[in-house]
C-alpha cells in the first residue's frame, strides 16, 4: 500500500514538474523580441558612445513582408532597420532603444561588432568587458573596425548580392581562406585573449565603403597588386562594401592599417596562410605579369636568439606554387625557366615580407606573433614580462627566407603561341 502511495506521489510530482517546462520567470516569446544582428560603436558627444543597432525584421528576412524597412539607413525591403542612440554603455543603449521599440531588444543573435576607427584608436577594448561578461553577447562575435564612423558604414552598406548585410560580411570573412587577405581570426574572443596575454598584438578585420566615382588609377592598382586597404580597391560597380587587410593594434589601441597584401605575408609567417593567387612581374619581361597560386608548404620555421642587445630572428617559409598564367611567351614549365620563376617569386615575397615587418616594427606592434616563439625561451611569466618583448620587437633584426617550389603548371604545358 505504502509503495503504491509513494509511486503515486512521485508520478504526481513528475506530472506537476512538466508544468514549469513552458517557462516561468524567464519565458521568452520570439515575437516579443527584437534581435540585434550587428552593433556599430562610435564616440558620441562627450564621453558617451554612439551605438547603432541593426535590428532584424524577421518577416522581411523570411520574404513574407517586403515592407517595414525602418529609419536610419534602413528602408525599402531591407530585412533590418537601423537605430542609433547616444548612451554611456551598451546596456543603457539597449534600455533607451526599448523606449522606442515595443519588442524587447536582445543581443542573443548578434554576430558582428563594428567599431569606428577613431574610437578604435582611443581603445579597441572599449566595451569589451561588457561583451565578455554579459550573458547575451557571445565571444564569437566578429569584430570589425570600419574606416570612418561605424554608423555611416552600417547606413551606407549595400551588399546587392545578399539582403542580409551581416551575412554578407560573414561570407566575406570566409573568403579569406582562399585569398588570405584577412587576418586568420577577428572575434571578440581572439581580441581580448590577445590583448590580455601579450604574446602577440591584436589585429581585427578592417572594412570600408567604396565611394563610386573615385579616380583610381587601374594601372597603379595592378602594380600595387594586393597592397590595398579597404575602400581603395581599383574597381567600380558591385557591392559597396570592401573588407580586406586589418586594423593593427598595440595593446588596446589601434595604431595603423595593414593592407591585404601585408596580411598575406603575416599569415605566411603565422603558418596560417592556406592559398592565394599572386601576380609577380615576369622575370624576363618585367612589363608583363606571371600569375601563380601559392599554397602553404612545410610549417614555418623560426630561430630566435635573444642573447644580444637586439633579438635576432631567422625564419624560413616554404610554399608550393601552381602556375596559373603567363602574359608573355616564356615557357616557365621548362626546368631552367621554372627555377628562374621560383627565384623571382621568392625575391618578390621576401621583399614584401621585409616591408611588412618593417611596417609592424614601426608600429611597435608584433602582430605577426613572433612573441609566441620568444616566450618559449623564458621560464616564468615574470622573466618574460621583464624582457619587455613589445619594445624589443621594434628593434629586432628579422630576416625571413622564402622557398618556393613550383609543383604544378595547371592543365596545359607551354603557353599558347602568339602571332603579330
Amino acid at each position: 500500500m505504502l509503495r503504491k502511495l509513494t509511486g503515486l506521489v512521485v508520478a504526481l510530482a513528475l506530472a506537476l514538474g512538466v508544468l514549469p517546462l513552458a517557462g516561468c520567470w524567464d519565458r521568452s516569446e520570439l515575437e516579443e523580441r527584437a534581435f540585434v544582428l550587428a552593433l556599430g560603436l562610435d564616440r558620441g558627444k562627450g564621453t558617451v558612445l554612439e551605438v547603432t543597432m541593426m535590428i532584424a525584421l524577421p518577416k522581411a528576412m523570411a520574404g513574407g513582408d517586403k515592407g517595414g524597412g525602418g529609419g536610419g539607413g534602413g528602408g525599402g525591403d531591407k530585412p533590418y532597420f537601423l537605430t542609433t542612440v547616444q548612451a554611456p554603455t551598451i546596456g543603457s543603449a539597449v534600455s533607451l532603444v526599448n523606449a522606442a521599440i515595443n519588442r524587447r531588444v536582445s543581443l542573443l543573435h548578434m554576430k558582428a561588432l563594428f567599431m569606428g576607427e577613431s574610437l578604435a584608436r582611443e581603445s579597441g577594448m572599449y566595451t569589451m568587458d561588457g561583451f565578455t561578461r554579459f550573458r547575451q553577447a557571445r565571444q564569437s562575435i566578429m569584430y570589425v573596425v570600419t574606416k570612418g564612423r561605424a554608423a555611416d558604414f552600417l547606413k551606407g552598406m549595400d551588399p546587392k548580392i545578399e539582403t542580409d548585410p551581416q551575412r554578407f560580411i560573414e561570407q566575406l570573412a570566409y573568403n579569406s581562406r582562399y585569398t588570405g587577405m584577412l587576418p586568420a581570426a577577428s572575434q571578440i574572443h581572439t581580441f581580448v585573449t590577445t590583448v590580455s596575454t601579450g604574446y602577440i598584438e591584436p589585429v581585427t578585420y578592417y572594412a570600408a565603403l567604396k565611394e563610386e566615382g573615385g579616380d583610381e588609377d587601374a594601372t597603379a592598382g595592378l602594380r600595387k597588386e594586393v597592397g590595398w586597404e579597404a575602400g581603395e580597391l581599383p574597381r567600380t560597380g558591385g557591392p559597396n562594401i570592401e573588407m580586406l587587410g586589418a586594423a593593427a593594434f598595440r595593446g588596446e589601441r589601434m595604431v595603423g592599417v595593414l593592407t591585404g597584401g601585408e596580411i598575406r605575408m603575416i599569415l605566411m609567417m603565422q603558418d596560417r596562410f592556406n592559398q592565394g593567387f599572386f601576380a609577380i612581374p615576369d622575370p624576363r619581361q618585367p612589363e608583363l605579369f606571371v600569375s601563380a597560386e601559392l599554397h602553404r608548404g612545410r610549417p614555418f620555421r623560426l630561430e630566435l636568439d635573444l642573447g644580444g642587445d637586439k633579438p635576432r630572428l631567422r625564419g624560413l617559409i616554404t610554399l608550393e606554387a601552381e602556375l596559373l598564367a603567363t602574359q608573355g611567351q616564356r615557357d616557365y614549365t621548362a626546368p631552367h625557366l621554372q627555377a628562374e620563376l621560383e627565384s623571382a617569386i621568392t625575391r618578390e615575397l621576401e621583399s614584401r615580407i621585409r616591408e611588412t615587418i618593417r611596417k609592424t616594427q614601426g608600429m611597435k606592434a608584433d602582430v605577426i606573433g613572433f612573441g609566441y616563439q620568444a616566450v618559449r625561451q623564458f621560464p616564468t611569466v615574470r622573466a618574460w614580462e621583464a624582457y619587455n618583448w613589445p619594445d624589443k620587437y621594434a628593434d629586432a633584426d628579422v630576416e625571413i627566407t622564402v622557398r618556393v617550389v613550383m609543383r604544378r603548371a595547371g592543365i596545359r604545358l607551354r603557353p599558347p603561341k602568339m602571332r603579330d
Binding site: 512521485v10 510530482a13 516561468c24 520567470w25 524567464d26 565578455t132 550573458r135 557571445r138 565571444q139 564569437s140 581570426a185 574572443h189 581572439t190 581580448v192 585573449t193 590577445t194 590580455s196 596575454t197 604574446y199 609566441y372 616563439q373 616566450v375 618559449r376 623564458f378 621560464p379 616564468t380 611569466v381 615574470r382 622573466a383 618574460w384
Partner: protein, 366 residues
Amino acid sequence: MKREEGHIDQVQGVMLVFAVLSAKLFAHYPALLIEGAGPAAWQAALVMTLTAMLIFLPSAALARRFPGKGLAEISESVAGPWLGPLLTLAVTAWLFTSLALGVRLLAETYIGTMLPQTPPSALIMVLLFCVAYASYRGLEPLSRAAQLIFPLIVLVVVLVMIFSMPRANSARLLPVAGFGLPATLGTGLYCAGMGAEAILALAIGYAFRSGKALQNSVLLGIALFGLFMTVMAAVLVSLFGAPEAAQLPFPMFNMSRLISLGRFLQRVEAITVMFWFFAWVVRLSALFHGTVVSLAGALQLPYYRPLIFPLAVLTMACSLLPEDFLSTMDLDSGVLRPIGLLVLALPLVLLGLAVIRRKGGPAHAA
C-alpha cells in the same frame, strides 16, 4: 543504523567519487588553479591530485582497518561514545556546508547564465526536491545513477574540449613554469581541498563491499578527476590565455559558447548546461546523502530517512545565507577548501587512536 541501502562495488564507487568531484569541472574551480599558477595551472592540477590522494591515504587505511563500517561507527568504536560522534559531527558539518554552498552555487550559476529572472529560492527548491528524493531512494540507486551519468559527463567534457580546439593555441601554456615553481606547488597544495569530498566515501563506508574497494574507488576517482582537471586547465589556458581563463566562473559554459564549426554546430551551451545539471545533481545528492547518514550515525539514530526533510529545509535556509554569488564563491574557495584539507586529515587522528587503542584490524573484518 538499519542497512536498507544495498552495496556498491568498486566500479560504482569510482564513478560515484568521480561524479561527485567532476561537477567541479563545470564551476569556478579550474579558475582557482589558473589564478594561482597561471600558464602552469595544469601542473598545479597534478600537484593537487597527488596531494589529495596522499591525504586520503589515512582514510583508506582506516577503511581497510574497519571494513563494512561507516565513519560514524568507526569514530564511535575508536574514539568512544562522546568524542566519536563529535568527530563525526565535525565531518558532517563540513559536508553540510559543502552541500549548502554547492546548492547555492548551482542556483546562481543558472541565474547568471540562463535564467536571470528566476529567483534562487525556486531553483533551490527544485534542486533539493531531486536531491532529497535521491537520498530517500538510498545509496544503491544513487551510485547506479552515477554509473549512468559517468559516461555522459566524460563524453560532454571531452566533446566540448575537442570542438573548442580549433581556437586553442598551445603557446598560451607558456612560459612553462608559469608564475614559478613555488606558486605552482602552493596552488596545487592549497587546491588539494577540491578533493575533500572524497571523505564522503568514508562516511558511507558501510556500503562498500570491502575496505580495499573503498580505497581503490576513492584513489581512482580522485586520479580520474585530477586527470580531467589537468586537461581542463590546459585547454582553458590554451583557449583563453591564463589572464582571461582565471576570470571564468563557468568554464564549460564559456567553452561551449565558443564552439562554432562551420555554420551548423554552434550554440551548444544549452546541451552542455543540461549535463552540467545532471553532474551537479549527482554530486549534491551524494553530499546530501553522506550528510544525512553521518548525522543519523552521530546521533545514533537507527534510520536516516526521518532526517531528510528537516535537512533539506535546513540546506535551503543555509544556502540562502551568503549575500551573493561572489561571496558564495569566496566562502567556498577561501574557507571551505582549506578546512577540507583538515577534514581529509581527520581520519589520521582516528587511525592514530585506532592503532594506539588497538581497535580494528583483521579481527573486525566482517
